[in-house]
Structures are given as structure tokens and as C-alpha cells.
Symmetry: C2
Subunit: 195 residues, 2 copies
DNA sequence: GCTGGAATTGACTATTTAGTCATTTATGTA
DNA sequence: TACATAAATGACTAAATAGTCAATTCCAGC
């Protein structure tokens, strides 16, 4: 019985991911989600008390998966540049492999359907990223910019590159990912102020 | 009478801008828009045959305003760097001065509520930007990246900085804008490949 | 002040919505 | 097999929706 339960819950989350990403939160009815998941309309409410709870649970799950992937094998890198580069690859590759989740996050990260509570809980999963930036500022590798600005630029640039790869479809994806990192690295580090 | 007509149309567009940005397209009812604009529910449909027409007209108008501002005084700059820098300031300052329009564009640029026709018409207003990037590639100032990647990175970085300024509220906004340009310039130009 | 046509109105409709709940089905245990 | 409990169902409801349209208001020119 436990098995079946998890199946249905997962099916509902997957259906919600697809439909919310395609048509938005208000553009998707709970009936559509249930149908896509292959369950009755009432079943959705056995797992999620409201539509809002559903999207918040989904958002949390996806962001958690991303943060987990983002930090993978970062600390085993030798140089600071290699650590940042590893994180860049983790981010971009996850985005390419998980288009739907990637677009979902981008669409709902500042949506009023996501509660501030969810946002706070999710934020905690990303402290290691903030810490890595602080490390770079402390050791002088990163330029003298506010930490907040650096984290934002790094993260949003990764989003830009994923979108670029998915939408403009360059022949050589790996090249595009590496180019993206070059731009970000030379932009955010300190040792290039020829001007 | 003509005056009154234009007033109501403008009021409807302004109300739609506010509500769509706050609550999204499907999250906003036509009745809410009419109420916010101070007109009867039927009046909206005198100016816009459907809700879709309304948001498309609005999107077009806002994007046109942005493109117009973006190109202002760019050609009178002497160096290539100064041209790009002027464009950067135009973009970021417009975003800060027009928060609602700025967030509206960000939210709906890839929304299915905006038709591909609207998107195509809007695109034409931005050829001058693409041309400026081509110029930089030709004269060797920009790094050897695909033009599409450069335009995207430049534009998205401006969005990132506007968001950073509006959300993180740094004490010195002008400093933040200039920092943002430094990051983008050193990231996208060729003369910094110390690596 | 009168008149004709355009602009404005809001009550109205057919449809869709999130969420409920009494009933039915499935499952583990003995 | 029989029982107890948890899960699944879908018809149902009250509220909200985009868009219509007959009636009203407005105003320029006479």
C-alpha cells in the first residue's frame, strides 16, 4: 500500500511540474493535474490540502535537488577556480538535463504562489554557495564587489547560458558551457583590470 | 470625446500592467482590471476584443518604450566601450525607473500568453542592438563568442543588476550600476585572457 | 434645446474553478 | 475467508470567469 501511495504522489508532482511550467499556476486546474497524473480529482487533495500546498511542495523538492547537484564534488577540487568551475558545470548541466524543472524554478522563484516560508527554507540549502563566494572574496580571487551581487550574477549567468543552449541550440554545447564560464570568471575575478 | 477615449484606454493598460505583474495573466480577471481602471466591465472590451489582445498590446507598448530608451544617445559616443556603456546605463536606469514595466517584461517575455506574432514584431525594434554587437565582434573588441550569446548575456546581466539594486538595495546605486558594467565588459571583451 | 451616432454601462450567461464528502475499492492480517 | 482500516473515487457545490448586449449617457453640430 505504501508503494502505491508514493506512486500517486510522485505522479501528481510530476504532472504539476509539467503543467505549471507550460501554463502557469492559475492557468492550470487541479482537474487537469489529476487527469495528467491518472488519478481522480479528489485524490490530489488526499496528498496536498490545497493547490498552493502542491506548488510549494514541488518548488521545495526541485530546489533541493538543484542545490544537491550544485555542490557535488566541489570541495574535492584543488584550486579556487576549479571549485567555481565545477559548480558552474553542475548548475548548467543540471539545467540542460532537467529542462522542465529548470524552467519551473525560473518561472516561480519570484511568484506570489510560493510563500515566503518556502523561500526561507529553500534558502538554507544554498549557504554553501554563499560561503564559497565569501572564500573567494577573502582570498582575493574575486573582484571587490558585494557578495550578494556576485552570487546573483553567477547564478543568473548560469540560467542565461542554459537558456542560450536550449533555445539557440549551438552545435557544440560543451564549448558553450565553457565559454559561459570564461565570461563569468573573467567578469567576476580581480586580475583582469587592464582598464 | 477623443480625449476621454484615450484616457480610458491608457487607464486600462496601466491597470493591466499593475495587475498582470502582481498576479499574472490568469491570476487577474478582466473585472479586476476594469475596476482598477475605474471603468465598467464592458468598457474593456470596447478597446480590446479579448484579454489576450490586451496583454499583447501592452507587451508591445512596453517593449517599444524600452528599445527606444535603450538606443538613446548611443551613437554619439566616441569609443566602442562608451557606446556599450551608454546602452548599459540606459537599460539599467530604465529598469529602475520603471520597476513595474521591467518586471512585466521579465515575467511575460517567454509566456504563452504573448503570441509569436507579437514577439516577432517586437524583435525588429532591437536589431540595432544586435548590430552593435556585430560591430564589436568585427573590430575585435568583443571576445570570440557567438553574437547570440553576447546579446543574451549582456541583456540578462542588465536584468540581474536591476533586480539586485531593487531587491538588495545597495547604498550606492550608481556604484552598483558601474560595477555591473565592469563585470560585463571584462567578461565579454577579448583583452583579458590572462589565463 | 434637439438630434444622431458613438461611447459607456452593468446585469446577464454559459462555463470553469478549487475543494468536499459519502461511497467504493484495495490491502494487510489472522 | 472475513474483517478493519486506509486510500481512491467522482458527482457535487458555491464562487468566479470571459465575454455579450440591450439600455443608457454623452456630446458636437445645428
Amino acid at each position: 500500500m505504501k508503494k502505491q501511495v508514493e506512486n500517486k504522489k510522485a505522479a501528481l508532482l510530476q504532472a504539476a511540474l509539467k503543467l505549471f511550467t507550460e501554463k502557469g499556476f492559475h492557468g492550470t486546474s487541479t482537474a487537469q493535474i489529476s487527469k495528467e497524473a491518472g488519478v481522480a480529482t479528489g485524490t490530489l487533495f488526499n496528498y496536498f490540502p490545497t493547490k498552493e500546498h502542491l506548488i510549494n511542495d514541488l518548488y521545495f523538492e526541485v530546489k533541493e535537488e538543484l542545490s544537491s547537484r550544485m555542490g557535488q564534488d566541489v570541495q574535492i577540487q584543488k584550486t579556487y577556480r576549479e571549485k567555481l568551475r565545477k559548480m558552474w558545470y553542475n548548475l548548467v548541466e543540471w539545467g540542460i538535463e532537467n529542462q522542465e524543472k529548470f524552467h519551473f524554478v525560473g518561472q516561480f522563484c519570484s511568484s506570489p504562489s510560493i510563500t515566503s516560508h518556502t523561500r526561507e527554507v529553500v534558502m538554507e540549502e544554498y549557504v554553501f554557495f554563499h560561503d564559497l563566494v565569501m572564500e573567494g572574496l577573502a582570498n582575493g580571487e574575486l573582484g571587490d564587489y558585494p557578495a550578494e551581487m556576485i552570487t546573483t550574477m553567477f547564478y543568473q549567468s548560469s540560467r542565461t547560458i542554459v537558456d542560450y543552449i536550449l533555445y539557440s541550440e549551438p552545435q557544440d554545447r560543451d564549448r558553450a558551457i565553457e565559454n559561459g564560464f570564461q565570461v563569468v570568471w573573467s567578469g567576476l575575478t580581480r586580475n583582469n583590470l587592464l582598464f
